[in-house]
Symmetry: C2
Subunit: 235 residues, 2 copies
């Protein structure tokens, strides 16, 4: 059986930076499932027409086609019940809160900090699309939106609940990681792959958790290509 | 069997405003357990000597004495397994994140907004203790710390993940409330009982959830005394 994940790539085919695709990469590894992570670019809408969708991740698992990172996690728990990701209904409700925490508290703060790095990391053919869609979303130019000082200060405040949790446990989900960790960690992989910005101080319990997450599943995150690995790309 | 909860009261014995005690009041109601909520004041340390503790909530349940709101929730799940509050280990890990979210993201923002209302709501005999302990914690006078503008703007940002979750479900924990909801809602009861400040706009999905939470368990929160109910107390 072929299992294919359409995975956002940047200026180099090996540079994979979507926070949503990283959630899925970690979830697949958690289940012990192999996957071909096929490179896809923002403007390559045609390649996803078969899924009636225009964004990644898209997972093709045999005859199944699943879109949206959260729905993919749910699918994986249904199709491969061993090593649960989301857990029962109450556990899943709380995982959904963590999803929104990543998307609505962490990512906007990170975005403010790394937006110019992101523009630099996307494929040159995608840059017009990226600039136009993001400037529309932010209601201003990327240059006006960009403010590492504001972004880092916003991120510092947003990290407070995560700090509290990681002072008392190795993972958000307890003694070992599951969907709660992957949903949040994807956002950090996004920033890590496109930027060399230090988002979290060494002394922060979040930093120790990030190091553990990078090492999981054979160093899946640790060994991922970063923009600084692409010769001449980081500016 | 007697069941007693030592519960923080303010300028009126009926004014109960501790966010941590409210968590426990809701958790007990969730289990269908009766309790005598005995009024206690900050400076009445002697009354808690039997528990070797100096803060409320303290729950006395027959021969058991349990301190700390979160530990009381855990105790209730052990002693009364029907109608679980916290759930299994993974669900509980995520509930702990919600606890930190309430304490480290929501409450500091609310505190900034309602600190002078809080001072006004505590019992006159407790005010010196309250001012001194809080000024030490904040590193400045209550008057310097007080800034509804800053607090409300901080709260607006902190509510983002909660908004996302409550757009898709009636309760944080899903179709019906459990510990995730109570851990967070306690903070809103704290603000509601001591202040008439509008913290959340009518149009916000968080507002609709607050209304639902107030009505739960026979209107437990809705019928709670507020400072505005105490004649001549609100200024």
């Amino acid at each position: 059986m072929t299992r294919v994940l359409y995975d956002l790539c940047g200026i180099d085919e090996g540079l994979r930076f979507s926070p949503y695709c990283w959630r899925v990469r970690y979830a697949l590894a958690h289940k012990g499932l192999e996957v071909e992570a096929r490179p896809w670019r923002f403007t390559d809408k045609q390649a996803l027409a078969f899924a009636d969708h225009d964004k990644v991740p898209v997972l093709v698992d045999g005859d199944e086609v699943i879109t949206d990172s959260y729905e993919i996690l749910r699918y994986l728990d249904r199709a491969y019940p061993d090593a649960p990701l989301l857990g029962d209904a109450v556990a899943e409700g709380r995982a959904r809160f963590l999803k929104h925490y990543a998307e609505r508290a962490l990512q906007p703060a990170m975005m403010r900090t790394i937006i110019m790095d992101l523009l630099n990391a996307v494929h040159p053919d995608d840059r017009d699309y990226f600039r136009e869609s993001r400037e529309k979303r932010f209601g201003r130019t990327l240059e006006e939106f960009h403010s590492p000082a504001k972004g880092l200060s916003q991120l510092d405040a947003a990290l407070e609940p995560l700090r509290g949790r990681l002072k008392e446990a190795d993972y958000i989900d307890g003694a070992s990681p599951a969907a709660g960790d992957y949903l949040v960690f994807g956002s950090f992989m996004w920033a890590r792959t496109v930027s060399s910005a230090d988002l979290v101080s060494n002394a922060d319990p979040v930093h120790a958790w990030l190091e553990r997450m990078l090492d999981l599943h054979g160093g899946l995150g640790r060994h991922a290509m970063r923009i600084t690995d692409v010769e001449g790309a980081y500016r």
